[in-house]
Symmetry: C2
Subunit: 250 residues, 2 copies
DNA sequence: TCACTCATGTAGACGCGTCTACCATATTGA
DNA sequence: TCAATATGGTAGACGCGTCTACATGAGTGA
């Protein structure tokens, strides 16, 4: 009942400080204001109020002009944060194939905000990949299917499905340009790379979205589509890149 | 050269406001201060400075006591943010199997911080799942292997690998408790659920980590392990839950 | 038409996290 | 031993994003 400990949850900033201290203590035995400031790329003066707050919360020992260390509780907390960081790094790098440096940076940003539930499912995915006998090959297929030279392309090479299955799957895939007004489909993927791809994705045409072709301008070039309650126009060139699974016509 | 536009990147908060306006305009044709405040769960008074800043940046039209609307540029920006949101939601829900409401919340937090590169790889994973003929079955396997009743368990049922492959894979998997001092292995998964699992993960024992068993206390209960430069002790009960792929002894 | 209501806007405050500028202390080397 | 230097700490400022309390306007019913 006693609300002694002002144990407000750590802010992102304080979590970062704690994590930094953890790494410094691990690598250099001690943590000093100066090192913390350097690691976080802030001025020393900014570190001090943060240290005071962490000390108040009982997570670090901080006496003026002495080395900073983690209390047992701070160590636990830091480890937890750090584990989140590494889980995310691993997921981004080893599953999604993001280059290590970017994976690190993203992990840094996301470790603070992803829910426990979200983290747990990511861990489960990692477990799946490393424990299911088929898990490993999933990644190989992912790379083959979607990550060849960072370029999205038709799944053809790596997949060990029968030719008939493949043909069937390809047959159902049409470009948005091939739809007639009134017809609809579900986005499977966006062909190609670069700014055009990005623009299409930015507009919200991502895999899984259900799109209806509303009308085609007389000239045939701008076409109007509708999805998820909003309507917008697309160049023909862009529409061609959007690959759909055709929905049965009503 | 002319630095006219004070086009500092949007803060998280402003991104959220813009996204909220986008949704309101889409669903109700107009956006009012009051609705924005309600949607974001803040006071009306807090909305006003935000609107002023968005208007200064040319993203919304905001005249005193008139309806708020998006400028074309604001619409583009909002769509982009919103597309990120939906991409993440879809990934969390449809790939990782996170319940919809939690997926939404996580998407809200992460949409601001994930790098473009990270987003792109997530999109590619979605494309893989929906376009590779084998993609769909990957998810089924993931659910079978790792998500049965939200419980981590041995991969056995759903996998279509030969019995011999499976036996081989199981044979290589040992519990951390079975290691002898000096031996090491790579974490494959943590058995079970609940707080013990969480504690183990919090300590940083996540799939892919390389662990060395340092020593076992005479009584056999606390065991000391070392990984990633740090050392810690584990209860025997916990160690049993940590499943490894044994590394060849030196 | 006039008071009431409610959405909108203003003023001022606060906490956080940073900064700059300056002060204090400890360490070190000539 | 004592001054130079590096490290740590203090004071005060600022921007952001929120709040509360109050003011202003615009529509509404009696």
């Amino acid at each position: 009942m006693s609300d002694d400990l002002p144990n407000t949850d750590l802010s992102e900033s304080l979590e970062d400080y704690l994590e930094t201290i953890f790494e410094l203590v691990r690598d250099h035995k001690v943590a000093r204001i100066r090192d913390i400031a350097a690691a976080r790329d802030v001025r020393s003066a900014s570190v001090i109020p943060a240290m005071r707050r962490l000390a108040e919360m009982g997570l670090i020992t901080y006496e003026k002009r002495e080395f900073i260390d983690l209390t047992p509780e701070g160590d636990m907390t830091a480890r937890r944060i750090y584990a989140r960081h590494r889980t995310l790094t691993r997921f981004f790098r080893d599953v999604l194939g993001i280059p290590n440096d970017i994976a690190q940076k993203d992990a840094c940003s996301l470790e603070h905000s992803l829910s426990d539930e979200g983290m747990d499912h990511i861990v489960r995915f990692l477990e799946f990949i490393s424990s299911c006998p088929e898990g490993g090959s999933v990644l190989a297929r992912f790379r083959n299917c979607a990550l060849v030279n960072g370029e999205s392309r038709t799944c053809s090479g790596g997949c060990s499905v029968s030719a008939s299955e493949r043909m069937q799957s390809i047959a159902k895939t049409v470009s948005l340009r091939d739809l007639k007004p009134g017809q609809s489909g579900t986005v499977i993927r966006i062909d190609g790379t670069g700014p055009v791809r990005q623009r299409i994705l930015d507009m919200g045409l991502i895999p899984g979205v259900h799109v209806i072709l509303e009308r085609v301008s007389p000239a045939g070039d701008p076409i109007w589509i509708k999805y998820q309650g909003s309507q917008l126009s697309l160049r023909r060139k862009e529409a061609q890149r959007v690959l759909l699974e055709r929905s049965p016509s009503p």
